[in-house]
């Protein structure tokens, strides 16, 4: 019985608790202290989950998500990557970053109705 309970707990932890930054609609900004000036404000997406990770604090997440440029913004929906916007070697995000994210969120929402 204890073994079964342990298995259920491990299963729930690995399935539910892990990777919660990808839950539902999540806009995640991957950055670093030295690229802070290039970050964009995620306030526009306050109806959804937003996270800003710095490589100095969450290096493992950067590795897992295969982040190669800073800053990078990824829109996740229920654990899946929907769109990735990278700054490239200029260290600047494209000007239409907000529009791209908004368009994708619109599409996700439209599919829920």
């Amino acid at each position: 019985m204890k073994r079964l309970l342990a298995i259920i707990l491990i299963f729930l932890y690995t399935n539910i608790a892990a990777q919660d930054y990808k839950d539902q609609i999540s806009v995640v900004q991957f950055s670093a202290p030295f690229t802070q000036s290039s970050e964009i404000s995620l306030k526009n997406f306050s109806d959804h989950n937003t996270h800003t990770f710095h490589i100095t604090e969450k290096g493992d997440v950067f590795k897992k998500e295969n982040i190669t440029y800073l800053p990078t913004i990824i829109l996740f929906h229920n654990g899946k990557e929907v769109v990735r916007i990278e700054s490239g070697i200029s260290l600047k995000l494209p000007e239409d970053t907000l529009d791209i994210i908004n368009d994708n969120i619109e599409e996700i929402l439209a599919n829920k109705f």
Binding site: D20, N78, A110, K112, F113
Partner: protein, 396 residues
Amino acid sequence: MNRKEKTEKFALNSILFLIVFFLLAFTLSSYAQLIDTSKKLENKIVRSYKVKESFKKFYKDVFKYSTIYGSYSESSPLFTPESYFVTQLGDVVDVSPERENDYAISIGLRKIARMDYENRENRFYDGTEQNASLQSNIGNVKGLEYLFQYSQGRQRGRDFESQRYLVRYIAKWWMAKGEIQQNGLINLDYKSADLRFRVPLFKKFSLSIGGALRTHLPYGYNPIDDYLSQNNWWELAYDYGFQDIGYSIDYDYDGEYDDFDWYWINDQGDRVADTDLDFRKNDYTDIVNDYNRRELNAIGTLGTLSGVVGLDFYHYRDSFWLHSWTSIYPKHKHVYGDQDFSYETFIGKDDWVDYNLGLITGWNVTKKLGVFVEYEKTKFWDKNLVYMKAGLNIKL
């Protein structure tokens, strides 16, 4: 409808109106802030532009993703075996009831987000949709959701009319829900208004606390029980125009009666039952149902205000999802209708526990093996409803 019923209906409708008004006022106020005309320096064009933009935003937030729908469906009735009657002369008469086609007409306006595990049943809305999210205290989107639907038709030979009006607003720290449901198919007439504060916990949990006003029939009270405790059963039949006529039976033709019984006639003098038992099995059940319905209608609708605590959890991934919800109503107050027939009076306390809880989970164990469980249990007053579905899928 008597004056008392009218007053009760008015009171309830007023409360529901206030909730809807509150929701709309809240929505509108957020736009009003944008239309701050206090800046006198702004010229007319700018103000006009702002007003236009605000209404555009209002329209977008209220009606975006909503669908107006109308549908008509018709289908053959369910199969019923033929029935035949053989006359005394040996003729066979087909007495199978003639069934007309079932049909339904629905019109509605809806903006309800499906949970991620719910597939859209049809490409088009037709009014038959069921959404699990309507039972829980979290939706798949924040903000305003609503459903206004009217249906009428015929099913299994019975004409019906159904209406459902629901408005729900889920904000980060509070939620409100008003619902009116009248379903002629299952004789449901239910109104409720629910206002709660909510606290999101660890992103996936939502704890809520507040109050709910629910209308209901006088549950727990059975008028016929009351009647029969003071009267003989046949007296009710007399009141409905039936008469019993006694007779005796001599089974063995020995000139002595072995048994006795009563046959029954209706108010037109037609013989409707040969014995008391025959009468109670057939006509009397209709009398009891009619009596109960009349007495309950005379009492009218009752309203109970209850404290409510809810806990919801939602997690979704394509391979595993878990959605659970609980609403517990531990404390109650009768707020309108005849107090003598309130459930509070019936059970002699105001702290019985009503609840609604549900769990929907699915797990794609491998690409070819999946299991799922759906469970919902509701205990409101003396009514218990359970729904359960579980199964597995193996793809070959």
